[in-house]
Amino acid sequence: MNEHYTLNVNGAEHEVADAWLGESLLYVLRERLGLSAAKGACEQGECGSCSVLVDRELVCSCLVLAASAIGRAITTVEGLEPSGGLTDVQTAYLEAGAVQCGFCTPGLIMATHDLLDRVPRPSEMQIREELSGNVCRCTGYGRIIDAVQQVAVARSQVES
């Protein structure tokens, strides 16, 4: 029951050879494609550290079968800045001290990019609501919210 298939990750087609179709998207990203940004923690869809975009929607890749993602556009942290540098969101997380142990950070970076792409100037309540699927055990969230707000302000200043 092993199969060959391709996944579109970060704009490129990736061959997955001789793999069981029952593997989670998270497992395939990390173990077969070597994309280790998305993290495996709870494996139950609770913590959000495995968050990626599938067709521009934020999902927990631990609860999506890779087979269900065939033919869809998958985006991970590795694909946010094709040059390999840091995005404004990543820089803001560093500057605001929103990163401590770092395990939740890739999921939160994906969630923050997704949020700010849809809602350029979110209120604090909106930030809390939208990031509620991403659990952080270190920071207490205050600096994460600061980082999101910093990016929102900086982006709006660039525009005006």
Partner: protein, 274 residues
């Protein structure tokens, strides 16, 4: 946390899904959003040997105005229920309850049909559609049939769906301006309900159902009878647990759940009457 091995097949339409499940029998399960089934499989609490992926049946993802009711395709995801303008206009209670399911990641994948077919008494949408007097549509090898929500939930995670039937549509009556409220009591905003109450009220009529107050979602008919008999909201709410059979768990004792059900029912009815 890796599930036991299974075969994966993707269904292209409802008919094919039904014939595949007929072929594979009891060992097979439909996979919709996977947000109830995959966690259980990873814990090995479920071990189907075949998964029939119905997640791409996009023709079963819709919200339509059907005259006296709103028809919702079983594969409609929570996020699309939450944001549906048709539901906001005609059945706002359901759209609002969907916005309380889990967190954004969960609402992007989980489907209304999966939630109802799974029939977890702690889930928000089974009880909400029960309070609204919904009808569910099931399709099997011999055609389709309608099942009233009140007849659907038979026991813990057990429904009136036959093994070879697929849930295709959820029909909720239009609310026609009725007052409504959804009260979800939990300790963190994105958690499951410790107890929840969905209620609506219009002239002499009302519907109240309870989340996590027994092995199935509970229709609190005694509350509605009391209201139609002229009881005050406070008195009617005292009947909230009359049909319930709450179980204790880490979050709450059975007694505390009964207390919560009464308080939340009173709050819901006050809001729905306002």
């Amino acid at each position: 946390m890796i599930p036991a091995a299974f075969d994966y097949v993707r269904a292209e339409n409802a008919e094919q899904a039904i014939s595949l499940i007929g072929e594979h029998g009891d060992e097979a399960k439909f996979l919709a959003g996977g947000h109830s089934l995959l966690p259980l499989m990873k814990l090995r609490l479920a071990q189907p040997t075949v998964l029939i992926d119905i997640g791409r049946l996009t023709d079963l993802s819709y919200v339509r105005d059907a005259g006296d009711h709103i028809a919702i395709g079983a594969l409609t995801r929570h996020m699309d229920v939450e944001n549906s303008p048709v539901l906001h206009e005609h059945a706002p209670l359901l759209a609002h309850a969907a916005s309380h399911v889990g967190d954004p990641q969960v609402r992007h994948r989980g489907t209304i049909g999966g939630s109802i077919a799974h029939a977890d008494p702690a889930s928000d949408l089974p009880a909400t559609t029960l309070a609204m007097g919904a009808t569910y549509v099931a399709q099997g090898p011999n055609g389709t049939r309608e099942i009233a929500a009140a007849d659907f939930y038979e026991g813990f995670l057990t429904t009136a769906l036959a093994a070879d039937e697929i849930l295709t549509e959820i029909r909720v009556p239009k609310m026609n301006g009725a007052g409504w409220s959804f009260q979800k009591f939990n300790r963190r905003a994105q958690d499951w309900a410790i107890v929840g109450v969905a209620a609506w009220r219009s002239n002499g009529d009302s519907g109240v159902a309870l989340v996590n107050m027994g092995s199935v979602p509970i229709l609190a008919s005694s509350v509605s009878s009391a209201l139609s008999g002229g009881a005050s909201v406070a008195d009617a709410a005292e009947q909230a647990a009359a049909e319930a059979d709450p179980q204790p768990d880490l979050n709450a004792s059975a007694e505390y759940r009964v207390h919560l059900a009464k308080v939340l029912t009173r709050r819901a009815l006050d809001a729905a009457s306002g």
